[in-house]
Subunit: 255 residues, 4 copies
């Protein structure tokens, strides 16, 4: 197998689609959001590409006994009265710096084939503490793109994200602008300690406003409720621990 | 030396042989099984290929003072009334992700030369606890292959192996299916803490049923007995430790 | 994107310019010096090249919401009565050994385009203790270059820097000499524990003498004062700690 | 610079020379031996090649203020009544597996240019305890080479070195045999904790017997004496420590 292999599964006609990328990262926020989007719109979704690469970990996943090589799936999603979408999902990012460049270039190649001009990279931004209000932070490839995003509630802050954006989401912007794409990174605030469905929901609400689709959040809310239970138990343990050895840093050490 | 160098040692005629891969991995199960198979059938085995690669660690092994460069050996094994076999063994897997792809491709190239259509990748699956009954878990490249494997006792479980299959065994399935091979991964359950000859024996019993050969397990049983002694001593130490500081997690920390 | 991409932004005529490199490294000394030089001379500076590379981390930085792919910037600086300069700055060095070679070669390629014959690589040399007098240590590509540098206060010591010079600064000398450049590494002494504007100032004073420009150090001095405050607090904590458990090694453990 | 660059410095006529490699490794034994050999025979030694590679760390060493890019030096040594030698020395091995293959191939290319048929790779083998009698362990590319080496005191032991031979020394054997060289690895026993001139001396005494040169060991003995002093102090500290908390393992933790 070459460094990269793109399998063409289908080639539906799409009208001015947007690229949406949601691979695993901080708080699993981007992946949760893109996976939920596909689950809710699965009747309108068509698998169009499988992207294999040596940059992925050398590994297969196994479902019901059947193995499949690590890859990124690209689904076309066409919903009436909403923008067409090309949704990139998968279990892994590249394993090294050079591979991130290879994959981001491949994603933009697929986007080119479908005449995409706008990209949305989904991710999380770690705050280091539990979140009450789930803000969505934005980064763009051109300052003119900021106003319309602020209109739908995306926040732009002078010094965030402090460490820049690493991995596929960052490169979709960094390489995308060089190839003429308008690219936006939407980052849901998340503690950084836990998989965070609430942050994913905040991302999807922004996307709904931008792209015009409508989905249910029931299953995502169920996962969020399960998370609340976990957090509740952690806080309980914390307050009990606080009675023995006072500390306001305990939560900082949760995986 | 190039990235890959395949030395042709012999080219015997084989009849519809199956590929069997057993390189080091979890509990050393796959390597123990393949090595034992070759030891027991050494009079019917012929070395046919040596596979060298820069993806292996830069190292020689030394036996009786004579050095040999790290490589994978391929033996052809022809036993009357059993399927012919091409057995891949060696001391090392590739050292990085890209190298796993290179080696798996090379293995399948050799398989192609011998008109192989079926591959068996041998490995272990870690359970995190000592095993009473040594089950063999399966993963395949096509759902139609499951039934005949279940008939010889291989188990297929919805969510196992949970983390997928990493390394050469995984890629023989992931790349094999793309090249038209029927590939199966047989994984012996093992604690994951120790080299596990009993798990290797369970794998080989499945292979016997599938391929029709018959071998002795005496030397493997001897190694298993040695292991039992080690486990016995560990448990003894454990129960003594338990009298001081009770804990049922101690075993989790052994090598 | 290829391994390397050099974007031509402008091509001003320069007269016998010198290359000045200041990427992040020990005590951030080289980067502080080059960044300060550009800030002070920004009216005489023109961005001439952007150097992108897969050897950089796969990442964008974000300023006021707008992302830009990690790169090295090259500014041409022309000041009356001073040598013309080509100043290389950026937030990252290469992420692996091979990448350092790629980038150093690219820097020298750009230098060739502008007919550069002299290179100055700026960096810090760690002393392991707080500095009173900020000496600048030199290393050159030819012994004949030592005398004129000693005349402006650069020190050459038989056994320094003990571990050689690692990364882009080292390679500008090591590869530069092979391509006919006269290359000098100027290393400001620094504790190695903290970002060190005083050491950067010492470097710039040497460059002023060598190249004839004149700049203000006010903003660098402000940063140095902030640093002094930090050091003062550390020493205070140290002397208090010394009363409890005497130790003259405490400072060695500051991040 | 390419992956590899070999600079031709001189091309003296040599008569059936042997390759001697002594790069840094366990106990620095191989490097100490080769460096001492060159120092003692410097009047008979001619620098013939410099080998540069991107596989080396991206770094220059600095001597008396003058930088030189990391490389391997090859000296031709011609001593009357002794075998001619090509001695490979330097401060670094390759930084990754693939680079070890690149360098070992390059060394053998240079050997081919000088019609070398025999190679001696020098190294150390760690014993984990302080050494009384400095044995030299051997490994060869063909069993027929063992007897003449045993005649000059080299030991061959069934299971040593247990982990094989890693790095340049191993590959000179592993790749050398494939290219028709007779290659021997001579490994001086050493604790593995300290730079070990006595082990280097033991190696050189074997080489003297094999190749017919004669050198003084005064400077190496001086370094060994310095080492003895260090060991003495360690043992003193150890026995004092033993009075407080008895332990026979302390030495295991020295550097």
């Amino acid at each position: 197998m070459d460094e990269l292999a793109i399998e063409v599964v289908a080639d539906p006609d799409l009208e001015d689609p947007v690229l949406i990328e949601g691979l695993p990262g901080v708080g699993h926020v981007g992946a949760l959001a893109a996976d939920h989007l596909l689950e809710e719109l699965d009747e309108q979704a068509t698998l169009v590409r499988r992207i294999y690469s040596r940059a992925f970990p050398p590994q297969v996943s196994v479902e019901d006994g059947v193995a499949s090589l690590t890859h990124t799936e690209v689904h076309a999603v066409s919903v009436p009265d909403a923008r067409d979408m090309l949704v990139f999902t998968g279990d892994h990012q590249a394993q090294h710096g050079d591979g991130h460049y290879t994959l981001a270039s491949a994603f933009l190649d697929v986007a080119d084939e479908f005449d995409v001009s706008e990209c949305y990279a989904l991710g999380g931004v770690p705050t280091g503490e539990l979140i009450d209000e789930y803000d969505v932070i934005g980064a763009v490839t051109d300052a003119s793109m900021i106003d319309p995003l602020e209109d739908v509630g995306v926040e732009f802050r002078p010094d965030e994200p402090a460490g820049g954006i690493v991995g596929i989401s960052g490169l979709l912007l960094g390489l995308g602008v060089q190839r003429g794409f308008e690219a936006t990174c939407l980052m849901g605030e998340t503690s950084g300690y836990l998989v965070d469905p609430k942050s994913a929901r905040a991302l999807l609400l922004v996307l709904e406003s931008l792209l015009g689709f409508e989905i249910s959040y029931e299953s995502l809310d169920d996962r969020a409720d399960d998370l609340e239970d976990v957090i509740g138990k952690i806080q309980e343990m914390e307050s009990q621990a606080a009675m023995d050895v006072p500390s306001d840093d305990d939560l900082r050490y949760i995986g």
